[in-house]
Amino acid sequence: MVLVKKIIIITAGLTLLAACSTSQNTAPKNTSGAAFGKPIAEQDLQAWNIDIRTQDGLGLPAGQGNAVAGEKIYNAKCASCHGPDAKGGPVFGTMVGGIGSFTTNARVLTPGSMYPYAPILFDYVRRAMPMDKPQSLTNDEVYALSAYILNLNGLVGKTDEMNSKTLAAVKMPNRDGFMVDDRPDTHAVRCMTNCKQ
């Protein structure tokens, strides 16, 4: 009887383990009792909350701008590094063209050719540009600059207003150009003697 009981307990335990390992977030728990985080309201961290889920634009803020406005901002704040018409400058290469180059042996990587989703432009420019003064542009300026770069790449019209809806709706040429990591993609054998070279 005792033995049977033990077996039941062990079996139950195993079932429980199996259940745990297939559910989500089964990380090692902190059992020490240490818990020092201070609660904060979401509205109090909004200045930090600048990420954008670029495939659907979740997180894009209010505001708008077009390529006409973007060109002026670009010439004032970006051209010194990126060059006139975003064709490359003293510090960085071109941001225009390259669409269709990925099946050649000279792939040209630009926001137009490479970005799968247009809101990447907004996210990156807002957080990281201009390089000497990041996070200094207004949302309207960032929309306008995004519109300008997209326009130079032939992806939106010169007066098309970019906002949280229209920017997310721009269909980028490389939208379906990605695959998820499927490595290992090589299957080398541990040959020791007279191996093929």
Partner: protein, 438 residues
């Protein structure tokens, strides 16, 4: 006072001498000159271990025995002035036009053992090194959690600590040397690789404390630097091992490596271990930011790009002898590093005939999970041209491929990441070691 002035003059003079010879090639040509002189004295033409066994010169008392040493100066110790050539270097193959989004490389040929000293740990920044006061730095955990949290550094340092050895490698390590030799030294071919003992708090603890929604499957981690560098990470694959690290190799992180707080994802490409970590947000999908679409993706033969190639697959390289060195006939220890982002190193093989025949190398303890492993191999070089290479096998059974193996399944064009191909060094008949890729 007079003595210290004299000493200072000596130091200044030797520093000037070192500055005059900071380039690797100069340093190595000086060393090879010394070696050649020794070989000549021992009778050139006879090979083997006994060939340089001529009688040594008589020994005078060294001056260091006869003068007082430098007085103790309390403070942070620095390497000997004679090691002034052992420094991080930028690549001299792919030179950026600015040094804000840039990288520096570890002198792997000069780091014995498996730990990289903090001052030699490779760097990759996307807009410079921020100046962050740990007293004001904060980490926020929010998004799909029941209780958004903010933690200060003193909060984080109160948790029970976890300490582990792990390597870190940039996904771009080796990108200049796929098809033909471009770099001269192993520092330039493989120096976006380092290894440290990391201390911090498991990421899972703060996610648990914030009440993470069981439906959350991804997080995005973001830095407090001027690029706001961020990456999306799949929770189920990082949750067991991800660490909020604040220390490396027995001291707080160096500024250039994330002071005061960084994420540490063992075995994954370095840029996901977000430095200067300020925010973690939980969600249900990846964010597809620039750094995981337009960058850090690999070209595929059909014109597509492979994304989320997180793990650094098994790889090895011979660090001694390596490019720009010169060896003498007879005994030479072949030594280097092997590592895998998927587990432990199970074996390393060495070839001295360009990959036709291989022999197992000795693995030096400790052999740790997702950590550099040191291998050694005794080689009696007979003096003819040779091609030496190493090949790693990891605990999953994965065997390090050749570049030809990789070329068959990926497009090698432009800045291709994730180069874990077998790396040969050519040894010429006179002992000069050069890059043998391609």
């Amino acid at each position: 006072m007079k003595e210290s002035a004299k000493m200072q003059a000596i130091v200044v003079a030797s520093q000037k001498e070192l500055q005059a010879s900071t380039s690797l090639s100069k340093e190595f040509s000086r060393r090879s000159f010394l070696r050649q002189s020794v070989a000549l004295a021992g009778g050139a033409g006879t090979l083997g271990i006994a060939s340089t066994a001529a009688m040594a010169d008589p020994l005078p008392i060294p001056p260091s025995n006869q003068v007082m040493g430098a007085p103790l100066v309390a403070g942070y110790g620095m390497p000997s002035k004679y090691e002034a050539n052992v420094i991080r270097r930028r690549s001299d193959v792919l030179v950026n036009k600015q040094n804000l989004s840039d990288w520096s490389m570890t002198p792997l040929q000069s780091t014995p053992g498996i730990v990289t000293p903090n001052g030699l740990f490779y760097e990759r920044h996307h807009n410079g090194v921020p100046d962050i006061n740990p007293d004001t730095h904060k980490l926020v955990v929010h998004g799909m959690v029941s209780k958004p949290l903010v933690l200060t550094m003193s909060d984080l340092m109160r948790y029970p600590t976890v300490t582990k050895f792990h390597f870190m490698e940039c996904s771009g390590n080796g990108l200049t040397d796929w098809l033909k030799p471009a770099s001269k030294t192993v520092q330039q071919t493989h120096g976006l690789l380092s290894c440290a003992q990391w201390t911090g708090v498991p990421l899972s603890w703060v996610l648990d404390e914030a009440g993470i929604d069981p439906k959350a499957t991804w997080i995005v981690a973001e830095g407090a630097d001027a690029s706001g560098h961020l990456r999306s990470l799949p929770l189920d694959r990082i949750i067991d091992e991800a660490m909020l690290a604040y220390a490396m190799n027995g001291e707080m992180l160096r500024s250039e490596n994330g002071f005061p707080l960084r994420l540490m994802i063992p075995g994954w490409e370095g840029n996901v271990s977000i430095k200067w970590l300020r925010r973690i947000k939980a969600g249900t999908e990846p964010w597809h930011v620039r750094g995981e679409t337009a960058r850090y993706t690999d070209p595929m033969p059909d014109g597509k790009w492979r994304k989320f190639s997180f793990e650094m697959e098994a790889k090895s390289v011979i660090t001694n002898p390596s490019g720009s060195m010169k060896i003498k006939p007879g005994y030479n220890e072949i030594t280097g590093f092997a590592w895998s982002g998927k587990g432990k190193i199970a074996a390393v093989d060495v070839s001295v005939d360009g990959g036709k025949n291989w022999q197992p190398a000795r693995l030096e303890e400790p052999v740790l999970d997702k950590c550099l492993t040191r291998f050694n191999f005794n080689w009696n070089w007979q003096g003819g041209p040779a091609v030496i290479a190493s090949r790693a096998v990891d605990s999953t059974g994965y065997v390090q491929p050749t570049v030809d193996d990789i070329k068959k399944v990926r497009a090698i064009t432009g800045f291709v990441q994730h180069h874990n191909g077998i790396f040969p060094w050519n040894v010429s008949a006179n002992g000069e070691v050069t890059n043998g890729i391609g």
